[in-house]
Amino acid sequence: MIFEKTKQALQGLFPQSEKTPVTALPPAQEDAAESKKTPKKEEPRPDGVVERDYKVHGYHLDAQVSPAQLLEAVSLLDKAEFFIESITGVDWIKEDQMEVIYDFNRYDFDLCRVVIRTRVPRSNPVVPTITDIYAGANWHERETHDFFGIKFDGHPHLIPLLLPEDADYHPLCKDFKV
């Protein structure tokens, strides 16, 4: 099954010494893992692979990686013939972090939605680009740059896409006032 394979492949990114969270979380623990992410808690979720309940969350695998591991994780998915759905960001202002979320899905009936997320400090939000792996990430990254000011290192054409050419604001940052 592609789900198991992908999970193992993604877990391979995290050395055992780091003690990544357990794979299959029972529902109670899962909630605990979730509440860790909420901005109320100071401590963000550690990197690692989490299995999610598809019925509730709408995706199967949730991998948080460091920006340095991102390209490796994405090329793993590329090799497994995932397609890119979208890229977006979330501004966790209380934790002073920016999160970039990559959604991947499959064309075949072996349903497996994978979410890859990575966190960068708000003061210097730089993530490597994945346009070399997925050409279709181009616009998604430009859009994320428009909205959050996250820079994608190595992006070929990082100019405003949806916002006006001269836009110097990032409207989806939580400190942007309408």
């Binding site: 709408g58 995706y59 979410v115 309408v178």
Partner: protein, 372 residues
């Protein structure tokens, strides 16, 4: 037709197709670097009607924002509302009565037919044939009349609510829908005779703009763009939601990868949608259309949720990041045409401009939906 001659990148000129151009159907601009009539390079410029729906989503409560979803895509509005209500119902754990789900499926499919009909007309008009547009609009009018009678508006329906529907359907609607199905099937025969079989039409599309499955995957294409390239991907089948598992329908897939394949997929989809509507009307259960208990203001437990639906234009996804408050912490709308349009830049290189515009038409663009 790809370029049989060697392109001369040093002797090119820039052609601005749009923002106001008859073929772009909205304010879309494509900056084309041309060598004669051949495109050397193209850069799509979007964002002319960007409305920042995602920020509005963060500022408004869940039920206030619901109205925005039907403004995203003016041709297939119901599909987008459907995705949003399904997501919130899933995340907040709201039970939906079965009748409401059936009515949603029927109306979404009607809306899909309306959208495909408009696309069909506009696409043939892009290719220079005028009359099919009028015939398609006439058939679409029946659908709009039906939907207007139950929802109260003709384009931006705002019909679904969290937990159910705004209005129940009446017998008039059911009778009208039953009348519509055979009429539409007759019209489809007419369209196939008038357009699909036409030699000029076929010559214009056969082999134009081949999209390999690999390109579709790299760009995340969905809808007829993927299905015309031999990818059997339809969210209704791959990730069954709502009451779609109850219906017996096929996903048309064509393996030619060209513009004609994309056209054939959509035309076949109209017939499949008719089948779904027919079954939905037969199976339509009685009962309430809203949950018994009146819903208070909706709150979603903290977490990260995703829901994809198959709209007329492809796989539409909503990602909700909730912090448990009255408004979403972050709401991402993944619009299908955004990904479908993106592959235009790469794929149109070396094409003649008239083929490129036919290709653009075959992508079924609705600009407000790209720009959001």
């Amino acid at each position: 037709m790809s370029a049989p001659i060697k392109l001369r990148p040093d002797e090119t000129f820039i052609l601005n197709v749009g923002p106001q151009h008859p073929a772009t159907h909205g304010v879309l601009r494509v900056k084309m670097e041309m060598d004669g009539e051949y495109i050397v390079n193209a850069e799509t410029v979007i964002g002319y009607i960007h409305r920042m729906h995602e920020k509005m989503g963060e500022l408004k409560t869940y039920s206030q924002f619901l109205m925005n979803l039907s403004r995203m895509d003016y041709l297939g509005a119901l599909g987008y509302s459907h995705g949003h209500v399904l997501l919130i119902e899933k995340a907040a754990g709201i039970e939906v009565p079965e009748r409401a789900e059936y009515i949603r499926a029927i109306t979404v499919e009607l809306n899909r037919i309306a959208s495909h009909l408009f696309w069909f007309g506009a696409f043939v008009m892009d290719l220079g044939g005028f009359s099919p547009l009028m015939y398609a609009l006439q058939d679409r009018e029946y659908i709009l009349d039906m939907l207007e009678a139950i929802t109260g508006s003709r384009l931006t329906y705002s019909y679904y609510r969290f937990g159910g529907l705004y209005n129940d359907v009446d017998d008039d609607f059911i009778a009208a829908a039953r009348r519509f199905i055979p009429r539409m099937r007759t019209s489809m025969k007419k369209y196939h005779k008038l357009v699909t079989g036409n030699i000029i039409f076929r010559k214009r599309l056969e082999g134009i703009a081949p999209l390999t499955p690999e390109i579709c995957r790299k760009y995340g294409a969905s809808s007829a763009v993927a299905r015309g390239s031999g990818i059997n991907f339809d969210v209704r089948k791959n990730e069954p939601y709502s009451v779609y598992p109850e219906f017996d329908f096929d996903v048309p897939v064509f393996h030619e990868c060209d513009s004609l394949a994309r056209y054939n997929v959509r035309m076949a989809e109209i017939e499949q949608s008719l089948r779904i509507i027919e079954q939905g009307l037969d199976k339509l259960p009685g009962g309430p259309i809203m949950p018994e208990k009146k819903l208070k203001a909706i709150k979603v437990p903290p977490g990260d949720y995703y829901q994809a639906v198959e709209t007329a234009r492809g796989s539409f996804g909503v990602r909700l990041v909730s912090d448990g408050g009255k408004t979403p912490y972050r709401l991402k709308l993944r619009s299908p045409t955004y990904s479908n349009m993106h592959l235009f830049d790469e794929s149109c290189r070396g094409m003649l401009i008239m083929d490129a515009l036919a290709f653009m038409g075959s992508l079924d663009l609705v600009i407000p939906e790209i720009d959001r």
